[in-house]
Symmetry: C2
Subunit: 100 residues, 2 copies
């Protein structure tokens, strides 16, 4: 498995618009086992995204899905910063769900 922990900083006052851009119209992505979008109670501009994929290849392929590209295009102007906190190798747990 392949995992990502990312910390995004929204442009000032744009967090909720960014959340909508990331969640509206989202559909199952092949190989995506978990994808959690979260706000941060200590910082009104921070968004955490934690992801688990069956393979790194499927994560990379997802970036070419037309609706994902449209979401990225909508999100980019709303993002002030992106930090990849970790690339991980998930070994197990709960809530690793094959998209159906």
């Amino acid at each position: 498995m392949y995992g990502l922990i990312g910390k995004f900083t929204a442009a000032p006052a744009k967090r909720d618009q960014l959340l909508s851009a990331l969640t509206d119209g989202s559909q199952p992505m092949p190989g995506c086992l978990s994808y959690v979008i979260a706000t941060d109670p200590t910082d009104e501009n921070t968004i955490w995204i934690t992801e688990v994929w069956d393979t790194k290849d499927n994560h990379e392929a997802s970036l070419n899905i037309p609706w994902v590209q449209a979401a990225i295009a909508k999100a980019l102007p709303l993002i002030a910063g992106m930090e990849q906190v970790a690339e991980t190798e998930p070994v197990g747990g709960h809530g690793l769900e094959v998209a159906s």
Copy 2:
């Protein structure tokens, strides 16, 4: 929802034993929607744990479940460090699965 992103450092050469302590005998926990344990390809002693719970109360209650307490007792001597990277408020995504 209530989320946690944690970074654990295993005692030297104890990572795999720590992974076993955290995963062996694990059972569904009430209110736990996602619980992912991952290694870090850049550091052989690091373990990432990302969690999503329906409520913070259910997370706290889980620490009193007997098998969880037994796992913690087994894990503690294998842990050199714990960093709570973030407490989050998950807003949605994929793989948020009610334990059955």
